[in-house]
């Protein structure tokens, strides 16, 4: 056990799985970086933000495959390779680039198993960066996991910390279905204690990162961190929050969510994906349908506005949910002092 960054945790999961299973290969743009370059340094980058650094050096060109800039062909190749015996981990550098290869994800890998009557397995992972906060503007800052959660046949993982990232990525690589693994680009340098050995975190099991009986806070990915911070500050005010990190949006641990709601009857959902048909809507609808009798207040959603992600830092920081907005939302539904559990 030692302190590792989100970046290191992901790198370690990849390395350990590649050592364990020779069928695991990495595919992507500059996942090594430097092929054909005049310096003869075939691993200059190890990914645009250095996440796959060292893997080319250890595993060589047959296991770490740099690609031309042509997402449809290499994401599709990952699907074809998965259906024929490899277990690829493909990198879609930014999830915003899904527009260049959605068909291979939506109509090919996601549907093989069903269309082919259960006779295909497509064990692959697409690692991809998401999220605002980097001043990367409208085409490099989207969250977009709702698109993937919408598509039957895909599993969708949004790890909220280094520990989560390692365990969930190992699980993703071992899973026999196509998995989309969302890495928040702002979190790569976040650190926490992460075991050195391999471990996996099962899909569809939410994690309670804070417990408190007044309000249920559900948050996705980086928003878990903010929700925790909000919960800690609210505790000082005497409002106890249970924070739920669903970990995977598909499959979704509906049981844990509904249990917590049964306890608190008050719900705030924090999500950085666009609001319409987004993740917060999905969770809210689940609760409004299945836990209606438990609800003591309207379900509140803390989300970005229905706009593209703006460039200017002043606007971007208004765009993404922040701790203050979470706190106000919780206060607006929290029970009166007398009824509080905490």
């Amino acid at each position: 056990m030692s302190k590792k960054s989100y970046r290191q945790a992901i790198n370690e999961a990849l390395r350990q799985e590649m050592r364990r299973d020779p069928r695991v290969v990495l595919i992507g743009e500059d996942v090594a970086g430097g092929r054909g370059g005049s310096a003869g340094n075939n691993e200059s980058w190890g990914g645009v933000l250095g996440v796959t650094k060292g893997l080319y050096t250890e595993f060589g060109p047959d296991r770490v495959l740099d690609t031309p800039i042509s997402e449809a062909s290499y994401i599709g190749a990952a699907a074809g390779a998965a259906a024929t015996g490899l277990r690829p981990v493909a990198e879609l550098m930014f999830v915003d680039f899904i527009g260049s290869c959605l068909d291979q994800v939506m109509n090919q890998m996601a549907k093989f198993r069903y269309m082919f009557g259960g006779k295909a397995r497509t064990p692959l992972v697409i690692r991809t960066m998401y999220g605002a906060g980097f001043s990367a503007a409208a085409q490099h800052s989207q969250a977009l996991y709702p698109l993937f959660t919408h598509i039957p046949g895909l599993k969708v993982v949004v790890p909220s910390s280094p520990y989560e990232a390692k365990g969930l990525l190992i699980e993703a690589i071992r899973d026999d279905d196509p998995v989309i693994f969302f890495e928040n680009k702002v979190m790569y340098d976040d650190e926490e204690e992460v075991p050195d050995e391999m471990y996996s975190i099962p899909f569809g099991e939410a994690n309670l990162t804070r417990e408190g009986g007044d309000v249920t806070l559900i948050a996705i990915g980086r928003m878990v961190k903010l929700a925790n911070e909000a919960a800690d500050r609210l505790k000082a005010e005497g409002i106890g929050c249970t924070v739920i990190d669903p970990r995977t949006t598909s499959p979704l641990d509906t049981a844990t969510i509904l249990e917590c709601v049964a306890e608190t009857g008050r719900v705030v959902i924090v999500d950085e994906s666009s609001p319409r048909c987004g993740m917060a809507a999905d969770l809210s609808a689940l609760i409004a349908e299945e836990a209606f009798a438990d609800l003591k207040a309207p379900i509140r959603r803390v989300m970005p506005p229905h706009t593209p992600v703006p460039f200017a830092s002043t606007l971007e920081s208004l765009y993404v949910p922040d701790v203050n907005r979470i706190i106000s939302a919780v206060r607006s539904v929290a029970p009166q002092t007398a009824e509080r559990v905490a």
Binding site: R23, V25, D62, L65, T67, P68, S70, A72, S73, Y74, I75, G76, A77, A78, A79, G80, A81, A82, A83, T84, G85, L86, P88, D103, Q104, N107, Q108, F112, R113, Y114, M115, F116, G117, G118, K119, A120, R121, P152, G153, K155, D175, D176, D177, G204, P251
Partner: protein, 324 residues
């Protein structure tokens, strides 16, 4: 003219496969008209020698990806005809349990990675299958079939490049039947397939898709190159489509004489029969008895398909995930 120096078994199997495709498709044409077959059906009639000529160079250890016009490729790759017919009728006994239908027939155990409802869907997959063959060192080759129309899809073009960059054991077979739906290749395909192959650093071969022997030999060269680790190639197959784009299309964009002439002069089965009987490789009787066996097989497959039960409620929810 291509040689007849082919193993006699291969020839016999190939003739049977071509005849099976022809009868399968002609029968679907009739059955579709009765309204009993649901969905979109695209017939491969007239193009049999292409799929069969290519696949005669392959074994179950090799992989192919197909298109919306996939029945011929499936049969050529050895997929069970009865299970295919049942699938097209949407029966539980179908090769995909009735969940796929005509456009999604697949049989991975035979190296058949699926028909595909998406034009240009197959070539990227074939890069991946070729990568598997290469890295797993199983000696296999992966072949993408795609149409002249599909040759304009970005996915196809990117795949040509990727296959070259990765030096994959892959073959890209352009089945150029002159039309994508109702639009002629002469309108929609700028430049040439040959120059496109060069544009992506790839060997180019071409052949007459109505001559089994030509396809077999030419595709064989490309496939053997790939097998030897010499990289990918494009095989441009010149063909003609005998029916409408899909069942229901009256083909008002083509002169009916064109199609009639194709059927008269470029029937791969007639060509095969003439050449092999003239060369004394098969007797007319031998081929006739294959024809009869195929007729019986198709008849049986339709009868069984019609009699088979439909999938039921629990089938709706199964097979989405391996585990969930």
């Amino acid at each position: 003219m291509s040689t007849l120096q082919i193993n006699r078994d291969v020839m016999a199997r190939s003739y049977r496969a071509m005849r099976t495709i022809r009868d399968f498709e002609e029968r679907l044409h009739i059955e579709f008209a009765t309204g009993e077959i649901p969905g979109f059906v695209h017939l491969y009639c007239g193009e049999e020698a292409s799929g069969v000529g290519v696949c005669a160079n392959l074994t179950d250890n090799d992989t192919i990806a197909s298109t919306h016009r996939g029945h011929g490729h499936c049969i050529a790759k050895g997929v069970d005809v009865g299970a295919m017919m049942a699938e097209i009728y949407g029966r539980k006994s179908g090769i995909c349990g009735g969940k796929g239908g005509s456009m999604h027939i697949a049989d991975l155990s035979r190296g058949m990675l699926g028909a595909n409802g998406i034009v240009g869907g197959g070539p990227p997959l074939i890069c991946g299958a070729a990568l598997s063959h290469k890295l797993l060192k199983d000696g296999g080759v992966a072949v993408a079939f795609y149409g002249d129309g599909a040759s304009n899809e970005g996915t196809t073009l990117e795949s040509l490049n990727l296959a070259s960059v990765w030096h994959l054991p892959a073959v890209f077979v352009v089945e150029d039947n002159g039309y994508g739906e109702a639009t002629a290749a002469s309108y929609a395909v700028a430049g040439t397939q040959k120059a496109r192959a060069a544009g992506f650093g790839m060997e180019y071969f071409e052949c007459d898709g109505t001559d089994f022997f030509d396809v077999y030999e030419v595709a064989g060269k490309a496939i053997e190159r790939a097998r030897r680790g010499e990289g990918p190639s494009m095989v441009h197959v010149h063909l003609s489509r005998w029916y409408g784009h899909f069942e229901g299309d009256s083909m008002s964009y083509r002169k009916s004489e064109d199609v009639a002439a194709e059927r008269r002069d470029r029937d791969c089965l007639v060509k095969f029969r003439n050449r092999t009987t003239e060369a004394g490789l098969f007797t007319a009787d031998e081929l006739d008895s294959v024809d009869q066996a195929v007729r019986d097989e198709i008849e049986l497959s339709v009868r069984n398909a019609k009699a088979a039960p439909m999938p039921e409620a629990p089938d709706l929810l199964s097979d989405v995930y391996v585990s969930y």
